[in-house]
Each structure stands twice: as structure tokens, then as C-alpha cells.
């Protein structure tokens, strides 16, 4: 589904990713771990197509096509979803209206019939249950005045509605208490299917107790320096990153 080859990317002229390789197949969950400043969030943003990040070398193949030149909205419509580390607030823009517009953009793109307001409400109510989100949040402006936990739940709720093929969760666990973490993880697990894939970017092993990865990768200084199974996360928790960095 996703194949990243020799990816180099820079922010404001500073090179962050320095030859990153990663392959993700349908049905898999990959965890990207690593110390601060290693390039984890950069990787997430580059996959989503954020303009601030300049790809200077390498390629990102998604379903066989290089998407480096693809506009971010088209990546989204093609099924790439980024759950943001810091979901932004958009005052005055109704959550339901926003999400229905997004869903319909995707449907239009795929040549499917659009969803009207009534049908959308049925879909939304169903998907909200996944993350135990309060109904009133549907009527509120996007993320405005949401608590940290509510924002993260809203991200997973959006993911549930948009049904991406490739979801990238950028530090979804940051700022969550243990209950919220469990609920959010439950939502992510429920969305797992043989035909989709998830990349979980995280600092802490804690999240991986709930979202169990098939592969764990260590990102350091813009490259993946070590990969392993889910047991690697536990090892990292115990030993830190130094033993890999100095190897």
C-alpha cells in the first residue's frame, strides 16, 4: 500500500529526513518510535503533503503511484488520513457541516453519490459511538472549546466517517488520560480491516499496549535505524534508544 524510498525532506532549508525507507502493506499496523527531533512528525506531514515540508529526494509510492506531486486534498480523497497531534480549532465552522463537506468531496472524487444532511446524521451518530463522543460536539464548531481528549476523539471520529485506507496517527496519545487513551485506541482497533493500514507515531510504549503493532521502527536522525516486532517497543521502554544509536 505504501512504499517510501530514500526519502529526504527539509523544513525551511533544514534537512530532517535523510534517506528514510518504509514499506507498509494492507492489514498491517506499524509503529514509528524515536527520540524528540528524530523526524517523526515530519514523516507524518510529508505523507499527508504539507506544503511546509519540501521533499528533496526519494519517492513515496501509494498504491503504486508516486504521490510527491499530488495535492494534499487529493491524497486525502484517495484515502490518506492524518490524525493530527494538535487538531486545530476553527471557530464558527460547524463540526457536522465540515465533516459532511469533507466526506462529499471524497465521494465526488470517487464518483460516488453525495450524502445528504439527514443520511449523514445517521452515519455520524453510528460512528460517534465508536469513540463515545458526546452528541453535542456534533453541533459545536470544529474543535472549538474541546478538551484535549475531545479533540483526539474527534480526530478518530472523523477517521471513522472518512474510512481511510491509510491512517497516520501523529502522537494521538499525547495529552490523553488513561481512560481517553483506552477509548481512542478501541476506536482505532475497531476500524482495522484487512484492506487498510495504520501508522502510529508515538513517543511512548503505553499506546502500543492498546493498539498492538505488527512492526515497530526506530526513527533517529531522519532514518529508520532499527525495525522489529511488537516486543521491540517493550525493549525500548526498558533500555531507551541509546543502545541502538551507538550501535
Amino acid at each position: 500500500m505504501l512504499k517510501i524510498e530514500n526519502l529526504h525532506a527539509a523544513v525551511e532549508g533544514k534537512t530532517i529526513l535523510k534517506g528514510l525507507n518504509l514499506t507498509v502493506n494492507a492489514g498491517e499496523v506499524h509503529a514509528i518510535m524515536g527520540p524528540n527531533g528524530a523526524g517523526k512528525s515530519t514523516l507524518a506531514n510529508v505523507i499527508a503533503g504539507h506544503d511546509n515540508y519540501e521533499v528533496t529526494d526519494g519517492a513515496i509510492y501509494y498504491e503504486g503511484n508516486d504521490i510527491i506531486e499530488m495535492a494534499p486534498e487529493n491524497r486525502a480523497r484517495n484515502g490518506i488520513f492524518l490524525a493530527f497531534q494538535y487538531p486545530v480549532e476553527i471557530p464558527g465552522l460547524n463540526n457536522t457541516y465540515f465533516l459532511r463537506a469533507a466526506l462529499n468531496e471524497k465521494k465526488k472524487f470517487l464518483g460516488e453519490p453525495e450524502v445528504d444532511a439527514a443520511d449523514f446524521l445517521v452515519i455520524a451518530r453510528e460512528k460517534m459511538k465508536l469513540v463515545e463522543m458526546k452528541k453535542e460536539l456534533l453541533r459545536r464548531p470544529v474543535n472549538s472549546g474541546f478538551s484535549g481528549g475531545e479533540k483526539k476523539r474527534n480526530e478518530i471520529f472523523q477517521m471513522a466517517v472518512l474510512e481511510p485506507k491509510l491512517a497516520v496517527l501523529d502522537e494521538t496519545d499525547s495529552g490523553l488520560d488513561i481512560d481517553a487513551l483506552r477509548i481512542v485506541s478501541k476506536g482505532v482497533n475497531a476500524l482495522k480491516r484487512p484492506d487498510n493500514a495504520t501508522i502510529v507515531v508515538t513517543h511512548y510504549q503505553r499506546l502500543l499496549d492498546y493498539i498492538v503493532p505488527d512492526f515497530v521502527h526506530v526513527l533517529y536522525d531522519g532514518k529508520i535505524i532499527h525495525s522489529g516486532g511488537k516486543e521491540l517497543a517493550l525493549e525500548l521502554e526498558e533500555k531507551g534508544y541509546d543502545w541502538l544509536i551507538n550501535k
Partner: protein, 483 residues
């Protein structure tokens, strides 16, 4: 994102949709201003004697005044002798008795603007329209239906002839002829506008609306609107405006006066979309307007809602004088500037009566190289005990070449009143735009949704059908802003 700015530019640079010109033969007084021109205007309009005196008095005051320079505007000197002060479609010389007599070209103009004047073409009985074309009112719809409940809705020219006692009593009672430079000028040369009188206890059964269109070249439009809501009455009024696209600047200096008696309520909404000039700042309307409401009686209410997207330069401060005890004034504004547009707008709330309340919500949006200023005054007089004011002024910047300024003045002369002021300035976030795009929305849609969300508090005060119009207008004005 460098390309973000380019896209912002692209979205805000959209062409003005109402820039067409109508081929209507007009009868225009040659450019220039002196007493004879004023006499000629008054004669052509068949005005009563007191009006001519009133005009000449205003003119002599105007001659002693100077154009104000305190606004945050970059304004070239205006040659007042180069403007024609009266232009009327020839066909309107004898005011048409009914719509069948109105020049089809004019009817067509309004139709193109989305304002069909033929009543059967409009939604049944929702809005009555007074259409002002250059200097004269060409048609007023639903007059008969309104007359059944005693509501007078006609052009101000007609009111001067048919209801001179009302005009004489109220004209200039809120904005005196000496009020300011442009108001004095308007008092001397105003040509038409709308007149509304709602009798005691009557709730006006439909929205009233005036649609102003400047068509002729080198012409100023100086309209005068007078709205009187008698005791316990209610009226909601909307004003819309457009002009053809031209290279020279045209002057629009209007005066609006509102009087609300005891227990009366007036809602006044404006969707202003005069031609703003092109992307290099050539052409466009100078919109210098004095709007003021007087809450004369106890428990009266006046609310101003404005959506300002047009004009090269906007200079206006719709205000409320809260004279009656417990009276309420509100001001909700969205001012959007793009390219080289300049706006200096805001409000004045003058608290005189006890327990008076005012609310100010101002949303400025600046894009391109434009400049957008909020200027407000909240004055609480000594006798206005327990007065309350809440002001909120937000500025949104799109791109990095525009400017936003806030000039709030607060003057409180007693100790029992409460005045609150909040102000924010934010840039339309790249993060917000990217967030929307990551969910599959185009950049244009993202900006439009973010801006409409930002203005929601104001837009929701507009009558339903106009809220939709205003939203579309904002979206249009935004095109080309995102880069």
C-alpha cells in the same frame, strides 16, 4: 507555505460580478456644485419650499467645513466640482405610475442583480423593495399591501410631496445638516432614498428593502433614508448596493436616520457591495456614509448589521443614541477588504438614558494589500446610570501584506456603568487551511469555510435569505486571496 500565499492571492482576486453597465438614456445635470444646482435639483423633484431652504442652509454650512482627515485612510483630494449631482433615467422624468411604465432596461438591470421588481416574480410577500437607480427611485413594490396596515414605504422624494409634515418633523433630527462634512453635503444635494413610517403598535408584515444602483458615469449618489418607528412598532429593513466597473472613482455619500419611539424596534441590515476598484486600486466607489439611529423612547431598540465587501474606500460608523431609559443598541459588522481597498468603519454608542445597553461585535477581514480599521466610541453620560456595553473587535488577516487596526474610544462619566472591551487579531492559520485540506477540501473551500465561520456571529443576525447572499458575497470576495 509560500504557495499558500499565492493561493490566497488567487482566491481573493476574483472579478466583480456586478460590473456591467446598463444602456439607459439619462438626464443629467452637468458637473459642478453651486446654489443654482441645488435649486435645480429641488425644482426637478417638485419639493416643498421648506426643503429648498433646508438644502441651501446645509450648503452654506458645508462651504465652511473641511473634509475630515482623521480616518486611517489614504485618500486623494476629491474635486467636488467634477461630479454631477443629479442623474435620472430619462424614462423616469415622469415617475412611472406602475411597473409596466418602468424602462424595461432598468427592470432588466435589477433582474440581473437578482432583484426582480415584478412582484409576482418574487417570493410571495416576503420583501418589499424600493429600487434607486442613480439619483432617483424607479419603483417601490408592495406599497398597497403595506398601506393596508398603515405602513408608509416610498421614495423620500415622494414622501416630501405626500407627507411633508412627517419629513419636516424628522429629517435632520438625528443627523443634523451640520453634523459632518459629508452629511452636510448630502443634506444640500441628496436626490433620493427611501422613507419608512410604521404607525403605533404595527408590526411591519414584511421585510423592507432598498436596492441602490449607481449606473451613470461621473455621478455621485447622495441618498437619504429616513425610518420612523412609532410607539410599539417593529420593522426590519435591508439595504443592498452595486455599481458598474469603472476606472474613475465615484462618490457615494449617504445619510440614514432612524427614529425609534417608545417600545419600538428597528433592525437595519446592509449588504454593501459597491465596485471596489481593480486589483491595482484603479476605480471603485468612495463610500462615505453617516448612519445614525435614535432610541428616542423608553425600551426602544435599534440594531445595525452590516456586511461590507465593496467600495474602494469605506468610511462609516452606524451609531445609536440611547436616549430613552432601558433602550438597547447593537452593532454587528463584517468588513472585508481585499487588493487595495481601505475601510475605516465601526460604531458609536452614546448612552444617555438609564439602564441602557449596547453590544458591538465587529469582524474585520483583510486580504491582499488592503487596510481595515475598526473605530468605535462608547460614551456613557453622567445620567446614564447602570448602562452596560460589551464590545468585541476581531481582526482576521489573510496573507502578509494587509493591515488591521483597532481604535476603540471609551468615555464613561458615572460609576454604576459597566463597559467591557475585547479585541483579537489572528492570521488565517496555515494550520487551519491544511487541516481542512487534509480532510479533502480544496483550499478555496477551506478559506471560505474558515472565514464564514469567523463571521457567523454577525451573519446569523441577517434575515435568512440575505444571510445566504452575504455568505456567497464573502466567498466571492475571497476568491484569489489564498495563495
Amino acid at each position: 507555505m509560500s504557495s499558500n500565499n499565492e493561493q490566497l492571492d488567487k482566491i481573493t482576486n476574483q472579478e466583480y460580478k456586478y460590473g456591467f453597465e446598463s444602456q439607459v438614456e439619462s438626464d443629467t445635470i452637468p458637473p459642478g456644485l453651486d446654489e443654482n444646482v441645488i435649486k435645480e435639483i429641488s425644482r426637478r423633484k417638485g419639493e416643498p419650499e421648506f426643503m429648498l431652504k433646508w438644502r441651501l442652509n446645509a450648503y452654506s454650512k458645508w462651504l465652511t467645513m473641511e473634509q475630515p482627515s482623521w480616518a486611517h485612510l489614504n485618500l486623494q483630494p476629491i474635486d467636488f466640482q467634477a461630479i454631477s449631482y443629479f442623474s435620472s433615467p430619462k424614462s423616469a422624468k415622469e415617475k412611472p405610475k406602475n411597473l409596466d411604465e418602468v424602462d424595461p432596461e432598468i427592470l432588466d438591470t435589477y433582474k440581473k442583480l437578482g432583484i426582480p421588481l415584478k412582484e409576482q416574480e418574487r417570493l410571495q410577500g416576503i420583501v418589499a423593495v424600493d429600487a434607486v437607480f442613480d439619483s432617483v427611485s424607479v419603483a417601490t413594490t408592495y406599497k398597497d399591501k403595506l398601506a393596508e396596515v398603515g405602513v408608509i414605504f416610498c421614495s423620500i422624494s415622494e414622501a416630501m410631496r405626500e407627507y411633508p409634515e412627517l419629513v419636516e418633523k424628522y429629517l435632520g433630527s438625528v443627523v443634523p445638516p451640520t453634523d459632518n462634512f459629508f452629511a452636510s453635503m448630502n443634506s444640500a444635494v441628496f436626490t433620493d432614498g427611501s422613507f419608512v413610517y410604521v404607525p403605533p403598535g404595527v408590526r411591519c408584515p414584511m421585510e423592507l428593502s432598498t436596492y441602490f444602483r449607481i449606473n451613470a458615469t461621473n455621478t455621485g449618489q447622495f441618498e437619504r433614508t429616513l425610518i420612523i418607528a412609532d410607539e410599539g412598532s417593529y420593522v426590519s429593513y435591508l439595504e443592498g448596493c452595486t455599481a458598474p466597473q469603472r476606472d474613475e472613482n465615484q462618490l457615494h455619500a449617504a445619510v440614514v436616520e432612524i427614529i425609534a419611539h417608545k417600545d419600538a424596534q428597528v433592525k437595519y441590515a446592509t449588504v454593501q457591495n459597491w465596485y471596489p476598484g481593480d486589483e491595482n486600486g484603479v476605480g471603485g466607489i468612495y463610500n462615505f456614509v453617516t448612519k445614525r439611529g435614535l432610541c428616542k423612547g423608553e425600551n426602544s431598540k435599534i440594531s445595525w448589521t452590516q456586511v461590507e465587501t465593496g467600495s474602494a474606500i469605506t468610511w462609516k460608523y452606524p451609531s445609536v443614541i440611547l436616549k430613552g431609559d432601558n433602550s438597547v443598541g447593537t452593532f454587528h459588522s463584517v468588513a472585508m477588504t481585499n487588493n487595495l481597498q481601505q475601510a475605516d468603519t465601526g460604531t458609536k454608542m452614546i448612552h444617555l438614558g438609564k439602564n441602557t445597553q449596547s453590544t458591538i461585535i465587529s469582524k474585520g477581514i483583510s486580504a491582499g494589500k488592503s487596510s481595515n480599521a475598526y473605530r468605535g466610541l462608547v460614551r456613557v453620560a453622567k445620567g446614564a446610570t447602570n448602562a452596560r456595553n460589551y464590545s468585541q473587535c476581531d481582526s482576521l488577516l489573510i496573507g502578509d501584506k494587509c493591515g488591521a487596526h483597532t481604535f476603540p474610544y471609551i468615555d464613561v462619566q458615572n460609576t454604576t456603568s459597566q463597559v467591557e472591551h475585547e479585541a483579537t487579531t489572528s492570521k488565517i492559520g496555515e494550520d487551519q487551511i491544511f487541516y481542512c485540506m487534509q480532510r479533502g477540501l480544496s483550499e478555496e473551500d477551506a478559506v471560505s469555510m474558515i472565514v464564514n465561520g469567523y463571521c457567523k456571529e454577525v451573519l446569523q443576525n441577517l434575515p435568512m435569505e440575505f444571510a445566504v447572499e452575504a455568505q456567497n458575497l464573502l466567498t466571492l470576495s475571497l476568491e484569489g486571496t489564498v495563495g
